[in-house]
Symmetry: C2
Subunit: 236 residues, 2 copies
């Protein structure tokens, strides 16, 4: 039964890295998690070393040991031997390409499906979905395919925002997601606003944070689901 | 010698479709263009028929006959027989997938390289570049590859904007393009603001509109080039 904590973003405005989600993370990992395998591959201009330092600074005071895939000769063994997996944000295309190039997608999927806790934020939440087709990121590199870890049966759109920048004539986020469901009619999308997260334990799913999540599906009017309300329809 | 008119956007706020670029378009096509082959495949929730109607409404009063690829049995023959090619905006991934699925990329490239005028806006400008790696669009469908028409040797980022929506913790456009040049160090990117266009005639290139274009390349500080200033460095 997979257990996932999927955050929209790594930090709230004016806050420190991962601070808004400290309580969620410690509750999610519980006492069984000591070593976390961290994947910094979504970083582009941020080096893996610097990225790992940021994450260590945030999570090691909480009692976890962070080991990054870029620090070991065998990423697959690290993922197998760790108590949990964490994938950080950045560029979703680069992240998925690296996971595919290192042949880690099946390794991670198999570990999570038998119960290893998975923490993702932003791009790391995108790749937990069946595909990266609802990422907001720029396709700066080409992965082998858009198919991702498929740990959950629905799509996530992190950093969901309602407003359109003034005088900008590109599509709104809602228009983009309506185009997605038009082309992919069988799939739900959750527009996860800043400061929100989804906590998943088997077929139980809970929305964390203050904001509602916006739901998109072909043939259904986009609508809001508030924290505390049921999201079990996402497991269809 | 390729001739291209590449617009950032199809309309300015409060204006009618393609109206801001009427003078540019009639100057670009000149008197030799009667029939324009139009490609509406970037449309997703907008039907090809409705898309074509919008474009006809804008361009037919200027004296052009618009024939869309969705209206004919043989798109390649239409492109070959028309005086010019126009590709409209929408979703760049869907557009490129359709061009690839219909095996039209080489057909269009060959026609443009021997002088057939090419008009693009938004997604239609994206696909004129070597790849779609600097699109802002959501990857709602997966093309066979990110390689595009390669009619110009540099990338375009249409709808370039400087501001970050308030309280949004995703990357700014500049951060995204700096990530692109970090991963693709040999390539220039032109951040083309709303209301701007690039007019290209062989190795001559001119920036149209009131706004400067923002230039990105690995190892070079992002900087502005104003209308009237030289952009010939983009041809290396």
């Amino acid at each position: 039964m997979p257990r996932l904590l999927l955050l929209s973003n790594s930090m709230n405005p004016g806050d420190s890295y991962l601070n808004h989600s400290r309580k969620w993370i410690s509750h999610f990992f519980g006492s069984g998690t000591k070593t976390i395998a961290f994947i910094p591959w979504a970083g582009v201009t941020l080096s893996y070393k610097d990225y790992c330092y940021k994450v260590r600074t945030a999570l090691e005071p909480m009692g976890y040991r962070i080991v990054s895939v870029h620090e070991v000769p065998g990423p697959a063994a690290l993922i197998h031997d760790s108590d949990a997996i964490a994938i950080g944000g950045g560029n979703t295309f680069k992240l998925l390409k690296m996971l595919q190039d290192h042949k880690l997608t099946e390794v991670i999927r198999n570990e999570v499906l038998v119960g290893k806790p998975f923490l993702g934020w932003s791009a790391g939440s995108n790749v937990a979905a069946p595909s990266i087709r609802t990422t907001n990121d720029m396709p700066i590199v080409q992965p082998q395919s858009f198919e991702a870890l498929n740990l959950i049966p629905f799509q996530i759109n992190p950093h969901y925002l309602d407003l359109q920048p003034e005088l900008h004539m590109g599509e709104t986020r809602e228009q983009r997601l309506l185009e997605f469901v038009s082309e992919n009619p069988a799939v739900y999308v959750t527009g996860l606003r800043e400061g929100s997260a989804l906590s998943i334990d088997g077929d139980k799913i809970e929305l964390l944070g203050q904001n509602p999540v916006r739901i998109f599906k072909k043939g259904v009017n986009p609508h809001e689901v508030n924290p505390g309300e049921s999201l079990s329809f996402l497991f269809g």
